[in-house]
Every structure is written in structure tokens, then in C-alpha cells.
Symmetry: C2
Subunit: 155 residues, 2 copies
DNA sequence: GTAATTCCTCACCTTAAGTTGAGGTCAAGC
DNA sequence: GCTTGACCTCAACTTAAGGTGAGGAATTAC
């Protein structure tokens, strides 16, 4: 089951709803830092469940693993985070969410004035060259969320 | 340059801002259907520019290629689409956008009551089992937009 | 003390939406 | 009439976020 106050990966998976492989993957990406038992098995703290749950929610909102890592990096590594620790993160998180919503709303409004009228005729159309359109992503059009205000390097 | 009233792929790329390879890829996925010159080179109609531009916008809003294909399939294949043709599409499009915005807003509101308070303590938290959480996607957490009301099979 | 679970690592597979490059043709300018 | 640039196909590579399975070790249960 667990090792002295710690949780095995399977327990954590059951409690978070994540798959075991996903949790291992997150460890590889630096999102969680379980300790190891003498036999080499991962041992998680209870607070890691919270971390992992946060990852789940953040992903639903569209953050990438790297962005989430960036947010989580402000949490204390070896101490159970306090309410204040989480509060800081959730503020940053909320800001991102607001930005994403705002962008979608702007796009919708342009759509109303643009495709809505049937013009779609280039140059004239506000949607073709919106300030939001990231032209320099390198690999061409990707997912919407790639074009939305990326975390600008910091948390 | 062009072949008798038609446009070469490079021209289309220049006018839409898409890469040549992306346009070829879209043809492979059935989003455009250029004709061929006697020499085997693609020949596009002017109306294909509009189609391709639509693809660009739809992608920014987060639709997948398949969803876009589904929308475009209601356009006439070999006749230049009318304003009414585009109007129908844009209506469906707007609906999707509205749904996506609504979902993000619901998530934000839950966030305010949940992470905002620092609870994040599973079971109790509205964010862990939201009606919006797609549990059956098979491969685990993906991008947000994969969890948002997919095009339900039709256009 | 052994059997059944659970866990470990490592390598390869998956999807989406393309990009890149090789090897070879088409078309256009002079 | 040939050279240059644009185009062709096809296969392999890319990123993100994991999943899957092999082969083997650690724990737990009886």
C-alpha cells in the first residue's frame, strides 16, 4: 500500500484519477518530485495529490505541461504548501483564464462582423490579420491555445 | 504563375499566408479539391482562397481539421459558394464558439470558489468532477479543446 | 516461503497538424 | 533550348502528452 506515511504511485493514481503512466510522465517533466523507497519505488506525499489535481485542472483550462511546471515551481518543494502558496498560484491562473476568455470573445465579435456578413474576402476582413494572430510560431497553424497569450516566460 | 484563370499553389500560399506544404496537407484531408494541369500541377479556383482562409480562422478558434472538414462539406464543391452558403457555416461556427466561451467561463467561476479559497482538497472541490470533464477520451488528459463540446458528428 | 500484486525502467506506439528533404518533373524567361 | 525556379510525390521527422508492453524486481498476503 504505502510506505510509512507515504503513498505508492497506484494510490495516488486512484485518488487523483490520473493514470500511473501519466504520473510517471509528470515526474519526468518535473511537476512532482516523489522520493524513493529503499527498493526504488516512488513514495508520494499527501500534498502531491494536490499538486497533481492542480495539474489536471490547469490542463482542462488549456495550459501546457511547461506552463504548469512554471506555475508550480513557485510552490515549496519539500514542505506542504500553505493556503497562501496556493492562493498566489491561483491568482496567476485566474489571470491566464481571463485572458483566454477575452481573446475568444474578441474573436467571436469579429466573427459577427466578418464571416457573419459573408464577406470573408481577405484584406478587408478583420479576422485575417488580428493582433492576436501569432505569425511566428514556426510550424504554421496549430491549436488555438498555442496562439493565446503564452505564459511569457515567468509564472 | 497561373494556368488559365486558375492559381498555382504558390500563389494561393502567398495570398492566404499558409505554407505550400500545409495546403497540400489540407488537400490530402479533403478540405480543398484543386484540379490538376496537364502536367499534374495543382490548379486552384479563386474561391479556394476563401475556403483556405476559413480554415485558418477556424483553427484559431480551436477546431480540428476534421471538424473544419465537416463544416466545409456543406459548401458546394464545384461552384463558388454564395453568401448564403457561408452564412450557414458561420452560424454553426458561432455556436461552437459560444459553447467554448461558456465552458471557460464556468471553469473560471468554479475556480473562484475553489482554488481561490485554497481548498483544492478533492471530492469537496467542484473542479474535480465537473460535468465538463471528459473521462472517456482514452488517452488521458489532452488539450482543453478536446474536452469541449466536440462537433457532435454533424455540421 | 511462496504466489500474486504492484512497481520499476526502457523502448516503441499514438494523434494532430504539419515540416523537411530526397529525387525528379514542369513551366517560364531569355 | 536550356537553365532556373516552382512544383510533384513519398517517406521520415517534429511536438505534446501520454499509452503499451517486455522483462524484471519489490511488496504484500496468506
Amino acid at each position: 500500500m504505502a510506505v510509512q506515511k507515504g503513498l505508492a504511485i497506484g494510490d495516488v493514481a486512484a485518488r487523483t484519477g490520473l493514470s500511473v503512466s501519466a504520473i510517471r510522465f509528470y515526474e519526468g517533466r518535473g511537476l512532482v518530485h516523489p522520493e524513493r523507497s529503499s527498493g526504488g519505488q516512488r513514495v508520494f506525499l499527501r500534498s502531491d495529490i494536490r499538486r497533481l489535481s492542480f495539474i489536471l485542472i490547469a490542463q482542462q483550462i488549456g495550459l501546457t505541461i511547461e506552463e504548469i511546471a512554471s506555475l508550480l515551481s513557485s510552490l515549496p518543494e519539500r514542505r506542504t504548501p500553505t493556503k497562501a502558496d496556493w492562493g498566489r498560484i491561483s491568482k496567476a491562473f485566474r489571470t491566464m483564464l481571463d485572458e483566454r476568455i477575452a481573446l475568444m470573445e474578441r474573436t467571436r465579435d469579429k466573427l459577427d462582423g466578418c464571416i457573419g456578413c459573408g464577406c470573408l474576402s481577405l484584406k478587408k476582413c478583420a479576422l485575417y490579420n488580428p493582433e492576436d494572430r501569432a505569425r511566428s510560431l514556426g510550424t504554421g497553424p496549430r491549436f488555438l491555445l498555442e496562439n493565446i497569450s503564452r505564459v511569457s516566460g515567468d509564472a
